[in-house]
Amino acid sequence: MRLRDSDLFRFIVFVLIPLIVIVICGFSSGSYYAGLVNLFGINVILVASLNLVNGFSGMFSMGHAAFMAIGAYAAAILTLPANQKLISMPGLPEWLIYMKLPYPVALIIGGILAAIVALLIGFPVLRFKGHYLSVATIGLIVIVRAVLDNEDQLTNGARGVTGLPNYASTWIIFGTAVICLFILYRLIRSSYGRGLIAMRDDYVAAQTIGINLTTKKISAFCISAFMAGVAGGLWGHMQSVISGKFFYIDASFKIVETSIIGGMSSLSGAVVGSLLMTFIPELLAPLETGIEVFGIRLPELYGASNLIMAALLIVIIIFRRQGIMGYSEIITESLFSAKTYSSVLKKSEYKKLCDIVAYKIKVFRSRLKSKGA
């Protein structure tokens, strides 16, 4: 008798409530909270795609911010009007200056460019095992940052590109997030995904049963980079300002942190992790400007929220190494199975849910009584 066994309960918690929140935010665009929810959606894409590499394939990439940057700049260049590009990015070739594509196409091209860069960097680096990929991907971030800050003519340098049109509505963001989650979910359940997991668990054994490690590693890395590029395009158009400093090592670490906290080897973990990591820092933000606790005014504690998140990360990695969700896929399973949706129409499901709730209340009461006595 567990609540999570009821399909109807799953429908309510994982489909209905998020849908209501998204619809509310979709119609109140521009409000502060709607912005946070949008950020949550983008984080889900980033973290879920990182989990494909870090959690399911056993590699350890830290370069997601670099791929984000590539996607964001590509989407910006492809959607900004020509007069704006002439001012901030005069070094672009002429055909690029006058090119203006629909936003979804620009997003996909940004993703493809990120995947190409992933292929170029992955090809030499993925032959090494263990830590070397981590260091090389951090190097990639440094390299991308240097290019963005110094190619004044192409990227407007450290000033960044401003005035990006606000195309990234709640609908587009969550539409993309659901599509990405679905692709990843199906991918992991396919023979391809099982091959990745086999590679993670024991690469020698995986090789003996005929899995080509290099192809698997590079393809997973590229898919992940593609999604990070798309998410970067969404992020840029949501913030309307992009510059190299937003896509630096700290941004990448935040994605890795989120992935660990939620659970690297679970797509549902990406959702839970993003939820926590998007909203908890908002709760902690007042610490940085100074708040009153029991009448005592605390001084401004700059960096306090990062400090607390880092401590939380250490605690989680020590006491629950697999992250909050572990290997459970409850959220994606509920989202993408027909059973969840058909349960709305079945009378028996409502009865089952009522039974479970009644049972839970009974247990709770008897526990209270035994404590009282």
Partner: protein, 299 residues
């Protein structure tokens, strides 16, 4: 001839920078050799050391040599505390777990320093007798540079002797060959790891002083990138080998300064990027680093 002199000056500048990298890389290499842990927090321990010196010098007016001693002690305490709290519980976990843990420690230390001392940049001046310039021909070196340079070789020789001749050194070599087998042979691996962390953290504090003396400003994030570069140096030279770390540090420092000095000015801003490109290229040709061997390298 001018071109040649300029080249020489840049090489000397590279040696200055390289000696700092070398000292950090030695500590990195010792810890990595035993635990296979990329300790991202290593660079931040350097920052801790520098801030200790700054506070003691400006607030209390303590003479420099005492502050340096104290900063080494504090860096060792912080280093051992991070080992105890964040790395030891994870010893049986995979490589990734400790990597993430070290990342968290790094963020924690950076933000702690920010909270205590504000995120602003601060000026950092060495006492006059250390920053005095000596001119040898056309090369200008401060006393500090000469001390740093000598320190690299003293550290290299002393540590090599310790590792070759002493009991703990032998234990260290055994542990870096195979940690589990060493444990089964009755080696106290905790003592070995603590020693490695203590040496690494102490050296980090020393190199922090040298780096701050060179740049003359400090900020809470100053340690991270030099820390990463020192790791690159350790990998470049062959991780696990002390002379490899020193060699890697010098190569990296010289390459970086030559790149900054000889390339056209619009490329010089790419020097951080260049370091990583160099690392990737060297690893392609020699996957175990210049002086590394397969056994001493990755497992």
């Amino acid at each position: 001839m001018d071109g040649f002199i300029y080249f020489l000056i840049q090489t000397v500048n590279g040696l200055k920078l390289g000696s700092v990298y070398a000292i950090v890389a030695v500590g990195y290499s010792m810890v990595y050799g035993i635990l296979r842990l990329i300790n991202f927090a290593h660079g931040d321990i350097m920052t801790v050391g520098v801030y200790t010196i700054l506070v003691l010098m400006t607030a209390f007016g303590v003479p420099l040599w005492i502050t340096v001693l104290l900063s080494v002690v504090i860096a060792i305490v912080v280093g051992l505390a991070t080992e105890r709290i964040a790395y030891r519980p994870l010893r049986t976990a995979g490589e990734e777990a400790t990597l993430i843990s070290s990342l968290a420690v790094s963020i924690f230390l950076q933000n702690l320093i920010m909270m205590l001392f504000s995120p602003q940049r601060r000026a950092f001046h060495l006492p006059e007798y250390l920053s005095r310039l000596h001119t040898i021909g056309f090369i200008k070196l401060s006393t500090m540079n000469i001390i740093t340079f000598a320190a690299v070789f003293i550290i290299l020789i002393v540590l090599s002797l310790v590792i070759k001749k002493t009991r703990i050194g032998m234990a260290m070599r055994a542990c870096s060959d195979n940690l589990n087998a060493s444990k089964l042979m009755g080696i106290n691996i905790n003592a070995v790891i603590v020693t490695a962390f203590a040496i690494g953290s102490g050296l980090a504090a020393l190199s922090g002083l040298m780096l701050a003396g060179e740049y003359k400003t400090i900020d809470p994030l100053m340690g991270f990138v030099p820390g990463l570069k020192a790791f690159c140096a350790a990998v470049l030279g062959g991780i696990g080998s002390l002379s490899g770390a020193v060699l890697g540090g010098f190569i990296l420092g010289i390459a970086e300064m030559l790149f900054a000095g000889l390339m056209p000015t619009d490329l010089t801003a790419y020097r951080d990027a260049f370091v990583f490109v160099l690392l990737i290229l060297v690893l392609l040709v020699r996957p175990y680093g210049i002086l590394g061997s397969k056994e001493g390298g990755r497992s």
